[in-house]
């Protein structure tokens, strides 16, 4: 579009070549004249154009518009195909004018209606133009410009694309496309475009070198950028008319010196000297240079937005916030470019933020973010503002969005952001990683994510640190370390501890103040790790630690702490030690950890005191209390219970509402059996904090242990009702209580039934909620057993046993049920009991007694005295541990007595005389014990049956008699056997003698008659053989004789028994024989008419196993004595059945209570006890 530029415009008039000359200068004054001519004469369209442009150049917009409009009118009036090009041009021009107006409107903030109208006008015009010449490049470019104005970059880009398609070298299209690409952030493409423009038209105005420089800069090539800017400044410029549509960012074409270039160069210099590691001189030179450039720009154009931005940022850096926001405001006033505006807003926001006008700052940031949604620093700032205002959720979302956008290309981001935004070299992305992670850290549900994020941040950091000179700041930042430690607390406590220690060290190195909380946390962590099972592995215990844990350390902890403090020169105490333990697996054991925990906590307390002297801050006091509490935990863990109690009490003195202290105290009291004190403590907590489940559960347990079932029930009820109706422990505990009540209500079948039903329901509910709940399963099993469903109970226990494998309570209960279901299962039950003993009931007399009972049953069944011996041993141990239980003593006597019985029942050839003699002696002992037991007054409420003791006592005499008889029998037999053996031996001796004699004779003969040697030897041999044969024969005959005698012997016994039957006192023997085959006896017993008469004696005898008293804590045994009934089930429990008959036949039939101990409530509660950890 080259229009000849002359001083005048020749206006051809008419067709004859008449020309009217109008001076360009006078166009303004001759306005009326010119328009008259234009309207009246048939002037070619290009004249209108020329005149309009002239007006434009002179800044006469109205005339310009008028000129074009009249041209358009002319074009419409006389459509002329040859003039079409000019027509389109006119349309374009007008459209461009509107677009320009639009832009101006936007800048000066004129009402949107006006700009909207202009936009509509422009669009209409362009459409018209397009309709006329759809391939006209300029039209397309103009319409693209409209799109840019509307910020529809993609469509604009497409339009430019089209324009370039029609005219590949169309500069406006190229420029437009380039600027669109710039706006879209595709700098490489934009750069290409600009370069093309530069090639096509090296002297274009405004200088494309500036945008090229910017592109280079954005692409991270500062040298090229610098070159481009310098070149732009060097150029000698020829002012060229510019189409309005070709405008690029910040075009100020009138400036003889390119301010943009200068400005940008200055900024670059400045940035360079701020970040570069070059030596001081260069920096100074550069900054001087840049300052000079800036001032130059300022002199020329004090409203240059770039300059203003720069100034704002500088002021920001100089902490001159008021000035900064002033500059930013001015930028906003003068500039309409989005990016500049957003940066200005950002600057202002920062300034406001620094001035603590958070709300306004946030508004600024949000607006900035709207203007340039891709600018991460803005987002980051928004997020951090959110954080400061406590809107964590929003902040998290924002940060997540940042991360989503820039998860990987951190390097580019680092560079671009660092230089663009002049933020410190530390990447905002990393910061956002960190910040986000820190945000997540405290909330448990996000901890995994937090850990992940920290890992990411670390990765990026290490990437960043590969660049020379960049130190890994992250690893030295103690707060980050602490955050990371907090994040990994749940997942990996050891790791967390390590991080804590690292943080402590780094804080110390930087000699920053170390909060006592840190000591507390490290100590608490050591303590928790120490209490954990994993830490109790075999480890080398440090000498100091050993001392520490061994010693009761009765000294005052404060004095220790003080002593340590004075020794420890106030520096980092014991960190080296802690590290040794951490880094060396052999030291990783409970003692060491607890020791270190104690040390650290002591140190923390000392520091707290120190700080407390200076200022009595509230939080400090609180920390100190926590430290003391943790110290007490360490003591407790070490077994220094008294010390711990004292410490807890001291904590409570200072802070009476420290709930955990109360809880721990209560638990300690509970363990020591001081139930009332424990209850007191738990109630205090429940009063302080009515919603505290822990306290209520403990309270309930304490009530249970104190045997206050009703209170316990009420407590658990209240937990379920008021706090959490799905609380499993409470559910199970309540069920346990109901089970206990059911037991207690044994004498009232209806009530019992009721409790059992309730218990069953609760267990059912608990199991439904958690089918892995072992205590509930055990409880269910017990309920089943109590109600007589032994088979079901058995299956429940077997399942649990299989599932858990090493639960002592389950093993024990399974054994109970097995035994209850069928006494012949004793062999199976024994290993189970032994397992139970091994796994947890090591000293429990109850289990020992149960085991003893199992052995006893086995021994009686098998006539096995070694089992009986085991039984004796077990019951002896049980008595030794709990001698006050006289039922155990009764059992002891019983076993001792039956020792003889078992031996008596053994087949005669198996009997061992020594054992029998010993057993006989034992009967005496048993008798003595039983006499004494029977003699006790009923008022003393012994927990065995006096009646049974009496019966047993009387029975002793019988057993003794029998034993004596048996011993006599055996002795006789043995003697006879011995005699016979002796005889045989003698006979054989005689024979041998004879043989020898004969041999000697023969030898003599041989000597005498050597010639007949061979024949005689033959004869001799034959004779010897004959001798042997005869001796064998003799042996056989002996054996036969013996065999004949044996049946005779037993017959004799039988006769004696028959006598006994008749005599009465001997009756028990009969019963005992029958016991050998219980079933048949039972069957027979039912039909035996004589049974009533002998019932009593037999009953006493046969009930042995049932009589074996197990329940020590309750009145079970007494109960049994009074006639606990067994519905005559068909499982062969003849003994019970018989007993029922023997004592009273008219009583109600009730299910037999299975002797099952309380479920493993203790062991279970023990676990829970550890719960109120607070670290």
């Amino acid at each position: 579009m080259a229009i000849p530029r002359t001083a005048t415009i020749d206006i051809p008039i008419g067709q004859i070549g008449e020309v009217l000359e109008v001076s360009r200068q006078d166009l303004g004054e001759n306005e009326v004249f010119v328009f008259n001519i234009l309207n009246e004469e048939a002037v070619p369209l290009w004249v209108y154009l020329d005149i309009a442009l002239e007006y434009w150049k002179q800044g006469l917009e109205r005339q310009f518009e008028e000129a074009i409009r009249s041209g358009l009118r002319r074009a419409k009036k006389a459509p002329d195909p040859s003039e079409k090009r000019h027509h389109v041009l006119l349309l374009n021009l007008l459209a461009s004018f509107f677009i320009e107006k639009l832009k101006l409107n936007a800048e000066s903030g004129i009402a949107p209606d006006a700009s909207h109208a202009a936009e509509l006008d422009a669009t209409a015009l362009l459409n018209e133009a397009l309709a006329m010449a759809s391939t006209d490049v300029y039209t397309i470019v103009a319409s693209a410009n409209i799109r840019i104005a509307r910020r529809e970059y993609d469509e604009a880009s497409r339009a430019f694309e089209g324009a370039l398609h029609h005219g590949p070298n169309c500069i406006p299209a190229l420029l437009g496309q380039a600027s669109v690409q710039c706006a879209l952030g595709v700098y490489r493409k934009a750069l290409e475009m600009y370069q093309k423009v530069l090639r096509l038209k090296p002297d274009i105005q405004p200088d494309v070198r500036v945008p090229i420089g910017i592109c280079y800069y954005q692409l991270g090539a500062p040298t090229q950028a610098r070159k481009a800017f310098s070149r732009a400044l060097e150029q000698v410029r020829i002012p060229v008319a510019v189409t309005a549509g070709d405008r690029v960012i910040n075009s100020h074409p009138q400036d003889p010196e390119n301010l943009d270039a200068m400005m940008l160069l200055a900024i670059m210099d400045w940035n360079h000297c701020r970040h570069s590691e070059a030596d001081l001189d260069v920096i100074t030179a550069m900054s001087l240079k840049s300052n000079a450039a800036l001032s130059k720009v300022y002199l020329q154009d004090s409203t240059h937005p770039l300059l203003l931005i720069q100034m704002a940022e500088r002021k920001l850096l100089q902490n001159d916030y008021a000035k900064a926001s002033e500059y930013a405001d001015r930028v906003l006033q003068y500039s309409n470019t989005e990016r500049l505006r957003s940066e200005a807003l950002f600057c202002k926001g920062k300034a406001l933020q620094a001035q603590r006008h958070y709300k306004d700052a946030l508004a600024c940031f949000v607006e900035a973010g709207k203007l340039s949604p891709a600018a991460l620093p803005v987002q980051y700032s928004i997020a951090s503002l959110h954080i400061s205002q406590g809107q964590i959720e929003l902040a998290c979302q924002g940060l997540e969005a940042i991360l989503l956008k820039e998860p990987d290309n951190v390097e580019i981001l680092v560079v671009s952001l660092a230089e663009d935004m002049e933020v410190d070299a530390s990447s905002p992305t990393r910061l956002s990683f960190q910040q986000l992670a820190s945000l997540y850290a405290p909330s448990a549900s996000h901890q995994e994510r937090a850990t992940e994020l920290f890992a990411l941040a670390l990765k990026h950091e290490s990437k960043g640190s590969t660049e020379p000179g960049q130190q890994s700041a992250l690893m030295e930042d103690a707060h980050t370390l602490l955050d990371m430690a907090r994040a990994s607390e749940q997942a990996n406590m050891k790791k967390s501890l390590q991080l804590h220690v690292q943080a402590l060290k780094s804080l110390h190195e930087k000699s920053q103040p170390i909060l006592a909380e840190l000591y507390n946390n490290i100590g608490a962590m050591c303590l928790m790790l120490g209490e954990r099972d994993t830490a109790t592995g075999p480890g080398t215990v440090l000498a100091e630690a050993k001392n520490y844990s061994d010693c009761a350390a009765n000294e005052d902890p404060d004095s220790i702490a003080e002593a340590m403090h004075s020794n420890g020169d106030g520096s980092l105490f014991r960190v080296d030690l802690l590290e040794t333990i951490l880094n060396n697996d052999t030291y990783w054991c409970k003692e060491n950890l607890l020791f270190v925990a104690g040390e650290i906590l002591n140190y923390g307390i000392a520091r707290c005191k120190e700080a407390g002297d200076v200022s009595m801050q509230n939080s400090n006091a609180m920390t100190k209390v926590t430290l003391s509490y943790n110290m007490a935990r360490v003591r407790e863990s070490l077994g220094h219970t008294n010390r711990a109690i004292k410490l807890y009490k001291r904590v409570l003195q200072e802070h009476p509402a420290y709930v955990d202290s109360h809880l721990r105290l209560g638990i300690i009291y509970l363990q020591q059996g001081q139930f009332d004190d424990a209850i007191e403590q738990f109630r205090l907590v429940a009063d302080i904090d009515p919603k505290n489940k822990e306290a209520r559960l403990h309270l309930g347990r304490a009530y249970m242990m104190a045997d206050k079932k009703i209170e316990a029930k009420r407590t658990f009820d209240s937990v379920l009702k008021t706090i959490d109706n799905q609380n499993l422990p409470a559910l199970v505990a309540l069920a346990h209580v109901q089970l206990g009540l059911a037991r207690a209500a044994r004498h009232d079948p209806k009530e019992r039934e009721d409790w059992i039903l309730r218990g069953h329901r609760l267990y059912d509910a608990a199991l439904k909620a958690d089918n892995q709940n072992v205590p509930a399963a055990i409880g269910m099993g017990i309920i089943l057993a109590e109600s007589g469903f032994l088979a079901d109970a058995k299956s429940v226990f077997s399942q649990v046993e299989q599932a858990t494998g090493n639960n002592a309570a389950v093993a024990m209960n399974l054994a109970h049920v097995l035994l209850a279901a069928d006494e012949r299962d004793a062999k199976v039950a024994i290993p189970l009991y032994e397992k139970a003993l091994k796994k947890g009931y090591g000293k429990d007399p109850y289990v020992l007694a149960a085991l003893s009972r199992a052995y006893y049953i086995l021994a009686r069944e098998r006539k096995d005295d070694s089992s009986m011996k085991r039984s004796l041993l077990c019951i002896e141990q049980a008595v030794k541990i709990n001698p006050s239980d006289s039922a155990m003593i009764f059992n002891l006597a019983l076993v001792k007595q039956q020792m003889a019985g078992v031996l008596n029942d053994q087949p005669i050839e198996k009997r061992n005389l020594n054992a029998m003699h010993a057993a006989k002696e034992g009967i005496k002992t048993a008798e003595r014990l039983l006499i004494a037991l029977a003699a006790r007054t009923p008022e003393s409420r012994p927990n065995y049956s006096l009646e049974h003791a009496t019966l047993r006592r009387d029975y002793c005499a019988d057993v003794r008699k029998l034993s004596e008889k048996k011993i006599h029998e055996t002795t006789t037999l043995e003697r006879q056997r011995e005699e016979r053996k002796e005889m045989i031996r003698e006979e054989q001796k005689a024979r041998e003698e004879e043989k020898r004699r004969k041999e000697e004779e023969e030898n003599g003969i041989r000597k005498e008659r050597e010639e007949r040697l061979a024949i005689q030897r033959m004869e001799e041999q034959a004779r010897v053989q004959a001798n042997e044969a005869s001796s064998q024969q003799h042996d056989e005959s002996l054996k036969e004789e013996e065999g004949r005698k044996k049946p005779k012997g037993s017959k004799r016994t039988r006769e004696a028994m028959a006598d006994g039957d008749a005599d009465g006192p001997d009756a028990p023997r009969d019963g005992k024989r029958k016991l050998v085959r219980k079933k048949s006896v039972a069957a027979k017993g039912a039909t035996d008419p004589e049974r009533g008469g002998r019932g009593r004696a037999r009953g006493v005898q046969s009930q042995l196993s049932a009589e074996f008293i197990l329940d020590s804590d309750e009145s079970d045994s007494a109960d049994e004595g009074n006639g606990t009934k067994q519905e005559s089930t068909s499982n062969g429990q003849s003994s019970l059945e018989e007993r029922r008959n023997s004592i009273s036949e008219d009583e109600d039939v009730r299910p037999r209570p299975t002797k099952i101990k309380r479920p493993a409530f203790d062991s279970d509660s023990d676990d829970d006890v550890r719960d109120p950890d607070d670290a």
Binding site: D550, C551, A552, A553, N554, G639, H640, T641, N642, R643, Q672, G673, Q674, G842, K843, L872, L873, E876, Q877, V879, K880, P883, S884, S886, I889, L892, A893, K896, E921, G922, K924, T925, R928, L929, A932, L933
Partner: protein, 289 residues
């Protein structure tokens, strides 16, 4: 060294004659030389586990209590039969027993909460000191013969004045069964061991608790005071034996060699050795001085 066929429940080291006597749940009592630690005698006669053994101050006789409720006496010098001296105390009428310092009496605790004092010469009950409390698990005579103390199932500790038979002090401090107690050689201190895992030190004269030592992880089963009065030893069901410093009130050493609960500890007369016996059937001798 494995010494019995079954768990050993008690041990005593004589003041004279340097003998060790151990009583086991296998019903037997064994006598050992205090120098060579060889078994010198096997004493049989009890029908049930031997609960406690003690040696008379002159070192000639040993007494034992057993689950079979008999108190038996054994002649350690002549090994003569002393069955005629056996006392039938009735079941759990004589749980653990202790010789008086003059050797003429034996004190035993009973289930009714009484201390029975038996004459060793006449083998009969001489008098009864009543606590009206619970089962008496342990008794101890003070070396000066003035006091006899007992510990009950419920943790109560009582001290009686021997000449008058008056109850001097009822000491609180333990919450659970007191299984063992012993006086210091100067009779000024009484130490008690309980199921609550603690060892308490009492001032005998004033009857107040001086200190409560924790350290064992389980019940304290036995105590023995070193003759040099500066230490005492304890055995516990945590399978460990510990030596404590009386002044510092601290544990100064822990022996961790037994595989089962340590039922008994006993110092030698010169305080240089310590014998420990355990449920694991073994007796260990440690050099302490």
């Amino acid at each position: 060294m494995v010494t019995h066929e079954d768990g050993i429940w008690s041990v005593a080291w004589s003041k004279r004659g340097n003998r060790i006597v151990t009583g086991s749940v296998d019903d037997t009592i064994k006598v050992w030389s205090g120098d060579s630690f060889e078994e010198t005698n096997l004493l049989e006669g009890h029908q049930l586990g031997v609960l406690s053994v003690d040696i008379s101050p002159d070192g000639t006789t040993a007494m034992s209590t057993s689950l079979d409720s008999q108190i038996r006496f054994w002649d350690l010098i002549h090994r003569a039969k002393t069955d005629d001296k056996t006392i039938d105390a009735g079941p759990v009428e004589a749980w653990t027993g202790a010789y008086s310092p003059d050797g003429r009496h034996v004190a035993t605790g009973s289930h009714t909460g009484n201390i029975n004092i038996w004459s060793t010469e006449e083998s009969k009950k001489e008098r009864t000191l009543e606590t009206r409390g619970k089962f008496i698990m342990s008794v101890a005579y003070s070396p000066n013969g003035l006091y006899v103390a007992c510990g009950a199932e419920n943790g109560a500790v009582h001290i009686f004045d021997v000449p008058t038979g008056r109850l001097l002090h009822s000491l609180q401090g333990h919450s659970m069964c007191v299984r063992t107690m012993t006086f210091s050689p100067d009779s000024a201190l009484l130490i008690t061991g309980s199921d609550d895992k603690r060892i308490n030190l009492y001032d005998v004269h004033h009857g107040n608790c001086l200190s409560s030592l924790a350290g064992h992880q389980s019940w304290v089963l036995s105590l023995s005071y070193s003759p040099d009065t500066t230490h005492f030893a304890s055995g516990s069901s945590d399978k460990r034996a510990k030596i404590w410093d009386v002044k510092a009130r601290q544990c100064i050493h822990t022996f961790d060699d037994h595989d089962d609960q340590v039922w008994g500890v006993a110092y030698s007369d010169d305080g240089t050795k310590l014998a420990t016996v355990s449920e694991d059937r073994s007796m260990n001798i440690y050099q302490t001085g």
